[in-house]
């Protein structure tokens, strides 16, 4: 009898830990929703949920790319700069129509992604420093291209930013579609498996004949492209190209969303559902603090606490 309890107790704890690791973020989101429903006036309205979703959509899109990069044991600090670059380029080429300008944006983003990927895969620079160089230079380039915020009065761009299908804004649809797509790629494609293998053990992946460099480069390009999509959507929503402040600190928000969502920074594992939930968690937290008009000092301290708590709950089992 005693033996039985002894044996089951640690197992239950293990199960709890595992459960927290997998579903902790969702629990956090649920908790925030419940708390808000009680304490925040006008919270349970369709309009409010729409607002939160629209605001979090660009973060989610960037975080998807970031999750892939983190899955390869990398990190991409240049995503904010790519968003700014996307804003500049959209503004510059919008004169030729929305589609052509989007193509040019894609070219620029792919260029940044290639540069990141090449630095990481071929030169062997640590991701954090390689992408730091592009983070500084990329925003500079955005400002060189478009020295100041420019209002954009293109109707198709505007409808991209604020249009909807059956009341669901395009932004949300796009973010959802991309999340599903990325989740599918991670789970179902050769590329997804290869990415995880590279993140888990790069030497082993190399010796197993995986196209390590190609996968790395594609991952950084995809990350940059997703950041560019987020940049274009944010620009469309703002109806202005703003190379100065668009995407500021986005890299940190995205990394936070990914990590809080249960994807370890050590690579080899990617949790897309968690990443989306992580972004939503941070969004709801910020919204709560803003709606209750707390000062910035509080906001930052609260974010710090929630991040640590979330990551603590999702942490891997200790050694002992």
């Amino acid at each position: 009898m005693a033996e039985a309890t002894l044996r089951t107790a640690p197992l239950d704890r293990t199960r709890l830990v595992q459960w927290l690791q997998t579903y902790g973020v969702y629990a956090g989101v649920a908790a925030l929703l419940v708390v808000n429903a009680v304490i925040t006036p006008h919270f349970l309205t369709a309009e409010n949920f729409r607002t939160q979703a629209v605001q979090v959509a660009p973060v989610i899109i960037v975080a998807l790319g970031m999750a892939l990069v983190i899955g390869t044991e990398g990190v991409d600090l240049s995503v904010g700069a790519v968003m700014a670059l996307a804003a500049s380029v959209t503004a510059l080429y919008l004169g030729y129509g929305l589609l052509p300008s989007l193509l040019v944006v894609a070219l620029f983003a792919a260029g940044v992604g290639l540069a990141n990927g090449a630095l990481v895969a071929f030169v062997g620079v640590q991701p954090i420093v390689a992408t730091l160089a592009l983070m500084v230079g990329g925003r500079g380039l955005a400002l060189v291209l478009l020295p100041q915020l420019k209002d954009l009065r293109n109707p198709s761009l505007a409808s991209l930013g604020s249009g909807d299908v059956l009341g669901v804004p395009y932004l949300i649809l796009i973010a959802a579609a991309l999340a599903l797509l990325v989740a599918f790629v991670v789970r179902r494609t050769t590329f997804g498996r290869q990415l995880l293998a590279i993140g888990d053990s790069r030497p082993a992946a190399q010796l197993a004949g995986l196209p390590v460099r190609r996968v790395l480069i594609i991952v950084y390009v995809v990350c940059a492209l997703l950041a560019a999509v987020a940049g274009v959507l944010a620009t469309a929503r703002l109806r202005a190209g703003d190379p100065t402040s668009l995407g500021n600190l986005m890299e940190l928000s995205a990394i936070t969303a990914v990590v809080v969502g249960g994807t370890p920074l050590t690579g080899g594992r990617v949790n897309i559902g968690g990443t989306v939930a992580g972004a939503v968690l941070i969004q709801l937290l910020t919204a709560t603090l803003i709606k209750h008009d707390l000062p910035p000092s509080w906001t930052q301290i609260a974010q710090a606490i929630v991040i640590v708590a979330a990551v603590y709950a999702a942490r891997g089992r200790g050694k002992r």
């Binding site: 030169v123 620079v125 640590q126 592009l134 230079g137 500079g140 060189v144 936070t256 990551v311």
Partner: protein
Amino acid sequence: MTTASIEPPQDAHPVGSARSERLSALVQQHGASAVLLIVSMVASFSFDSFATGDNISNMATSSAFLAIVALGMTFVIVTGGIDLSVGSLFALGGVLAAWGSRHGTLVALLLPLAVCGLIGVVNGLLVARSRLAPFIVTLAAMLGARGLMLALTDEGADTYLIGKGSFLAELGQGSTLGLANPVWITLGLFVGGAVVLRRTRFGQHVYAVGGNEDAAALMGAPVARTKILVYALSGLLAGLAGALNAAWLASGVTILGSGMELEAISAVVIGGTLLTGGLGYVSGSLVGVLLLKVIQNVINQIGSLDSSYQQVVSGAFLAVVVIAQTWLGRRRQLM
């Protein structure tokens, strides 16, 4: 044809690789110094006002604070960690020093050290004991420390001043033997840092933890304690740098320190410390800081660059330096 050129077979490989090993170790350690030397030389030929006493002492003084932060960062990075909270701690340290200066110099100096050191300890505990990723822990600390700083200053509205002529102001603004006091302090800290890292048990543990954490634990190195200590040290030094900076500026400026963590990390990496840990040099970090400052100075010397071009140039420069570093470092890996 190959056999003809190799030395006695028994020792051929070890000796050959040892020689190039040492050479590339040298390059890795001093590559940044070489780049610094070249850039400085080119700059002094191109700009009359570069190699002047004034300019050099300005650069030295303004490098001092970043250098102190980079010193702490070096320890953290050698253990394979990272500390993103230093920028916020720098600002917090400055505000605390200025606030504390009303209660005397001792409070002004100890308060920032205590608070920032404590935040460092918390970082260290979360990293070492709870095994959370340093990146995310210190990111949270970065937010938290900035929040604390804002709370202390009525959301940044209050700037506390340090009285003129106080010991603290003298410490920050005075100079000794022609060099500003903060520069002396920085030099002292770096000498101390170098001794601690290369010549003490704690330093050995720092390298060991970064080189192979599991092995270090099995060899009896106190892994957790070492990690806690490096984060504490990093926090402490960031706070000290902030306090000294506040003394220099005679006020607890609230808008300082954003982006400083990335500057410090770049300086450390440029200085030849591996981000993966286990290998690094305190002196390299100092050179890295100087290199960043010299580049900034050169951009100012050119004078006509648009602010956005300046950023492009800094980014490109950073890329070139890390590519050079990595190539040199990789030769080393292959040997």
